[in-house]
Amino acid sequence: MLSEKTYKIDEIIDKYVGKEGALIQLLLEIQRSLNWIPREAVQKISEKLKIPVSEIHRVASFYTAMSLVPRGKHLVRVCTGTACYVRGASRILDAAEQTLGIKAGETSEDLKFTLEKVNCLGCCALGPVAEINGKYHGLLTRKKLEDILNRKRDESP
């Protein structure tokens, strides 16, 4: 498992060696592929691209799309943009926090769920909206979201 991960990291980094201004795209690709940016990757990038670790940390901690801690299997992103907010997004977020037992920005201990709040998913006409594993769910109610999350929890061991 570890070696496969290492191999993947190497493979991604090698694509970007020698390219100008590639750090963000590189980190995003690692994020997409592993669902987080492990310390190992940070060190490798530093070595291969000759960028100080501190600089990589600065970038990775600045952007919300990147995570330096492992994320859960299911990524739940509740939109709290203005349009969703005026239609009760904070209550939807409450429902997600209660159902999953974690706060926004946290990952459940069994690594099953990560809950995030995002600024805008660009589906403002359908507020409140949440994105779960890349699929958008519009016109949400507490009940609807709770049902979806409970289903996801029961889905796989």
């Binding site: 750090l23 600045f62 990147m66 203005t82 005026v86 660009g122 589906c123 359908l126 699929k135 507490r142």
Partner: protein, 814 residues
Amino acid sequence: MKKLNSPEDLENLRREILAKRDPNKTVVAVCISTGCQALGAQEVLEALENELKKRGLENKVDIRCTGCLGFCEQGPRLVIYPQEIYYFKVKPEDVPLIVSKTIIKNEIAENLLYVDPVTGKTAKHLYEVPFYKYQTRLLLENNAKVDPTKIEDYIALGGYTALAKALFNMTPEQVLEEVKKSNLRGRGGGGFPTGRKWETTRNALGEPKYVIVNCDEGDPGVFANRALMEGNPHSILEGLIIGAYSVGASQGYIYVREEYPLAVKHMQMAIEQAEAYGLLGENVLGSGFSFKVKIHRGAGAFVSGESTALMSAIEGKVGEPRPKYIHSAVKGLWEKPTVLNNVETWAFVPLIVKNGAEWFKTLGTERSKGTKIFTLAGKVNNTGLIEVPMGITLWDIIFKIGGGIRGNQKLKGAQVGGPSGGIIPKQHLDTPIDFDELVNLGAMMGSGGIIVMDNNTCMVDVARFFVDFLCGESCGKCVPCREGLKQARKILDDIVAGRGKSSDIEELQEIAEALSDAALCALGQTAANPLLTTLRYFREEYDAHIYEKKCPALVCKELLTFYIDPEKCTGCHFCFRSCNDQAIEGKIDKIHVIAQSKCTKCGQCFDACPPEYGAVQKTSGEPAPPTLPEDHRWLKKPWQTAEVAGPQKAVVIVNSKTAADIIKKSNRPVLVVGSKAAEINLEDKNLIDYIVEFACETNIPIIAVSSVAGEFIKRGYKPSMWLSAMEIGSRLVDKSWMGVDGGGPHDMALFVGFPYYVGAELLSALKHYAQGLTTVNLDNMYHTHAKWSLPNLGLEEWVNYLTGITLQFKNGGK
């Protein structure tokens, strides 16, 4: 794919594409943009493919996946060409009907048409739908006509002819001149004249030059750029190539935020296809001009939409703004002259080059020309993307296009321009909107978000929301923004929590001024707008929060009190179940009350209470009304049963005389008294007191449920028997049981004082298994399984019945 080497090649290709098309062939256009997908467009698409295959129609009907038409809430949306029939809110199960009725028989499926909620009329065509009727759709028009993944669709509509015209019939200077003449202003926010920006870059020293598309669209509440890039990526690309030709750039970047994966995918495909046709890359269309484009994915930071921050991000650094001592048009990306324009701005370029500046200038106001895409969201009936000429009033947008305020609420104001914009109150909504008017009102065009707010929106809370948002998004580089916003948030947090002080407003004002004077970039400079506009227009709401500790819109949690209106509570128990904090007291068919000491004001009970009851209420600035004492909480409302009676159901006893007559007909009646008899208070007495009176007067023996036997004895009356309720039922069913006195089976059983479900169960059993026994219900809730039953009665009416029956016996004797 053959590379196109001249404008003639392009024209020939267009003819070829059109010649291959049969204009009469049925085409079903399905919107697959993010909005419709969130409502299940993918499932509809699959159902359509399967249905067509099943009926062998896959070669006779084309399916076209298209972009967003803006009316997202009514999605998933289909258009059937050539008739141009629009179907909204389509579900996969509607697909067979669409195929059999519309595609095969050419008839309209009325139930899928749009129904105007105001007039109730259906609309077959787009121009009949009020949402579209008042729009002028220059940019969004083609979203329903092209498949964004097929360049041929775009070319068929005359795509890339503007590029050919620019490259072959115009010099770069002429293109620039045309854009300048059109008065096109940047759609990204500030409204800087596009032509002037281009000119600066063109004249600046330094090579190479760059052109950039800004699709960061980090403003919450806006998705115009997403819709355009997902739905018609080539229009943006064509504009970018023309711009590059005009300013002399050879490299372009398209910056797309990470949250828009579909936009990235479609743009990537557009670039590849344009390159394959020779419309992009080396020697474009054989003109000798070369231009390359790369996509850069953002990583989730609002500030990256700021031009210099965006350029830093493309350079691979943290997306922080830099001071603009020298404009980025002169020293931008990698310190080279750079034009950065918004998606919408670029998409206008081909239209202006093709139709001329004069055409563009016919629309709009004196200083703001053309149309503008707005995202209409919030508390209006119709939400979505709209494109309107500059100069339209917000009033028209909200009431004509938006169809008015949702749920008959009152309009309070509209937030325009995202977090950097401001809130415009109702009284100013009739101002014609353009770049300058909005600034005068304290807002800005921003990227065109209009969020409508009604009476249930608290303006202090909204200001706090925006400040909180900007606080999180501040990059932290300059002090006014980093520290100022933090302090403002702290003050606002205090105000909404009821800890506001009289000095707060002055302090907020000071912070706001410092921000707009001293922040490094536009994010910080405009961050004060939501604060300043709410302070200017909604000062009384701040005052209510600070001095009266009251939130007039009933939003701010800490200032709310929840309570249950005893007049409206039906005892349905929904609120009880929804409460995680055991703060609600109540049983089924009792009035529920909230224990204020335990209530965390989460609002779950408010949501759980069925809207037709509306018993859970909120109040602010005053305590909840006193709750009813424990023994007054029995419901006075008639009971409604959901039980299905079957062919036989109880006959309603219409008055106490009928009741007495029925009882008198019986030879051996028995009165069965349930567990609630001692708990129900009627006027000054207890139900059990009425029962004792009745029994003494009529000499009818009583079997009591064991738990109330003691209550009888306390009152000096000894029931003939006491057993558990179910045991009483078994005895009555048993034909060989000789009754309470051993004198033979009873022929009638009267029931009173039972919880509804116990009574129902007993009566149901007796109805089926105790033949020869007549059952009479004397409780105040209609029991369908009895032979005779009182109707649903209020407590007062019930007392009248009970005393009435006793009186009948007094007068008539037995």
